[in-house]
């Protein structure tokens, strides 16, 4: 991409940012450091329905915000947003517990650990050595870029207020947020510092965009990856995150259960990756030349880092260090283990040998599948979900992959997309109290499944459409695919001026 185009784009973004900052500076923020307007229905209803007990103190909060359908059970992250004030007189003094804060800081760090180095190494080991650095770069830089954009405008649009599809720009540049600002948890009077919630969610946005690069590994321009990430983050991640987890969000209102981001993160990323893989075309020599992973040992290290970090991803989505977090924790442990075993057994039966790549992929598949379910299913349900994901995602990277015909280099759709879809649907089944889940007496598998399916379909369609548009924009501006020469030589030399391994 030439200097002129780069300057034009930089000017455009600078104008957007300055304009937005001016807007934010004008309108004084509503946020007070004291009682955060309650998450209202979200927190209240999730308490009463998921835990099958009515919390008296949430009744007051529930009355304040009647946005959601009472029978729906949104188990999503609470809204630290600008919902109209709850009834503070009925609620007790909001408490911030040091244990919760310490845990959430740890959880946030764990998710960073998942992205950089976890995803980076997991993907890096799978490509040829001439492209190792390009993968590491794309993951690290995309994660960093999205993190910055998150605090500039992402948080505001996703969580900064009420809305069916998106919030607003009231909190652009985190206007009005101070270190005393509070964010809601699932418990009515328990809060965490808002900065902490912002940071935690930033890592989710970052890792989602970092996951997508797996699909275009070894053949997409670096500038194209960055531009695509910005557009897709803005037009897809933010609305989906808001719809599933934000105040007034459409899917939250419908009662869709997505504890830690099966739809928001995994289906979203998987579909975007698949669209990208189609539009980019296959790598030169795909199907003919050997493109064996250059370092499966690193891939395993990356997968192990993902497993460890995912405890922060899943259990951290509980926003407090209490029994809800421990349920997510144990589910994350057993589902993954079951998935590893299931993939190994299935692969052993299918191909005669259980491979390391299979075990590592199985672990990730299990982690993906349990992500939406971890807060509401029981450990036995988690084992079933994990085991099924091991088998289904094995099909996803073999049979389904052949059927789809796209060169999804690192199987982002086969594992994250398909695993996310499976997990989202099974959440609707295994949340049932009869199957060990936390669903209440009125829980209906059929109706919950329908809601889950709705969430899945909306995410797939939205992500696909936005990805298509984003790629088209990239294609027209900086260009998507590297030249044949660069692809042959390797992206490390061509785009980063380095080789990973020098004698």
């Amino acid at each position: 991409m030439n200097m002129k185009k780069f300057l034009q784009m930089a000017l455009l973004w600078a104008a957007v940012l300055v304009g937005g900052w001016a807007h934010a500076a004008e309108s004084p923020s509503i946020t007070s450091p004291g009682t955060k307007p309650a998450a209202g229905a979200a927190a209240a209803l999730s308490q009463s329905i998921l835990l099958a007990q009515a919390s008296t103190d949430t009744a007051a909060s529930a009355s304040a915000d009647a946005a959601s359908v009472p029978s729906a059970a949104p188990a999503a992250a609470p809204v630290a947003g600008a919902t109209t004030a709850a009834a503070p007189e009925a609620a007790a003094v909001p408490m911030v517990h040091k244990g919760d804060v310490a845990w959430m800081m740890t959880a946030t760090m764990l998710v960073v650990f998942m992205a950089v180095p976890g995803v980076a190494l997991f993907y890096g080991g799978l490509v040829r050595s001439k492209n190792m650095l390009s993968v590491l770069m794309q993951v690290m830089v995309v994660f960093s870029l999205i993190t910055v954009l998150w605090v500039v405008y992402g948080y505001s649009l996703a969580f900064g207020g009420e809305g069916l599809i998106i919030a607003g720009l009231d909190k652009m540049f985190l206007a009005g947020v101070t270190k005393s600002s509070l964010a809601d948890t699932f418990t009515a009077d328990v809060k965490i510092p808002e900065y902490l919630f912002i940071a935690f969610q930033a890592t989710f946005a970052g890792i989602t965009c970092a996951l997508i690069v797996g699909s275009f590994a070894e053949r997409m321009k670096f500038s194209g990856v960055l531009l695509f990430s910005v557009i897709w983050f803005t037009l897809c991640y933010l609305p989906i995150a808001h719809m599933v987890w934000g105040a007034g969000g459409y899917l939250l209102g419908k009662g869709a259960l997505d504890f830690a981001g099966g739809t928001v993160v995994h289906i979203n990323a998987g579909v975007a990756g698949l669209v990208g893989a189609y539009m980019l075309g296959k790598r030169i020599g795909y199907g003919k030349e050997a493109m064996a992973p250059h370092n499966l040992a690193l891939t395993m290290v990356g997968a192990a880092m993902l497993w460890v970090g995912w405890f922060g991803f899943n259990a951290g989505s509980n926003l407090e260090a209490n029994d809800g977090a421990t349920l997510a924790f144990i589910n994350t442990l057993v589902a993954t283990a079951a998935a590893v075993l299931a993939w190994c057994v299935a692969e052993g039966l299918m191909k005669g040998k259980a491979s390391m790549l299979g075990a590592a992929s199985g672990a990730v598949a299990g982690l993906v599948a349990i992500t939406p379910a971890c807060g509401s299913v029981g450990p036995m349900g988690a084992i079933v979900i994990g085991a099924l994901s091991g088998v289904v995602c094995l099909w996803g990277v073999t049979g389904l992959k052949r059927m789809l015909g796209a060169d999804d280099s690192l199987d982002v759709f086969g594992i994250h997309g398909l695993g996310g879809i499976l997990g989202a649907l099974l959440t609707g089944v295994f949340t049932a109290p009869g199957l060990g889940g936390t669903g209440g007496d009125s829980f209906s598998i059929a109706s919950q499944l329908f809601v889950q399916a709705e969430g899945v379909v909306i995410t797939i369609v939205w992500s696909a459409v936005v990805a298509l548009i984003a790629f088209k924009i990239v294609d027209i501006t900086v260009g998507m695919r590297v030249s044949e020469e660069d692809e042959r030589e390797g992206l490390d030399i061509a785009y980063h001026g380095e080789t990973a391994y020098n004698k």
Partner: protein, 112 residues
């Protein structure tokens, strides 16, 4: 003077080297190579992407020897590198026109 080139299985390198030292060969050059003859390769499987790997890792040993020593060198390599299974390798003997020792400038047999 002859150049003896032997392609052998990698784990046989030490044995061949010792056998050559025992009969008076003072220097060899070793390269890691890959190739195939009648020994078939294997199939590798990465998440459903199957690769047939024809090339097998081997070791190439090159030694410049005097005509008088040639037969014993060939015999030494043959017996130390043999396992009896397919893929043991081959020995090539070629004429060597000139040999020069870089340090001293010696040529011919004195350089061997």
């Amino acid at each position: 003077m002859k150049m003896v080139t032997a392609i052998v299985k990698p784990f046989k390198l030490d044995e061949v080297r010792e056998a050559l030292s025992a009969i008076g060969v003072q220097g060899i050059t070793v390269t890691e190579v890959k190739g195939f003859g009648r020994q078939k390769g294997h199939t590798e499987l990465y998440r459903g992407a199957e690769y047939v790997v024809d090339f097998l890792p081997k070791v190439k040993i090159e030694a410049a020897v005097d005509d008088a020593l040639l037969d014993r060198v060939v015999e030494a390599i043959e017996s130390s590198a043999r396992t009896g299974k397919i893929g043991d390798g081959k020995i090539f003997v070629t004429d060597l026109e000139q040999v020069i020792r870089i340090r001293t400038g010696e040529t011919g047999k004195d350089a061997l």
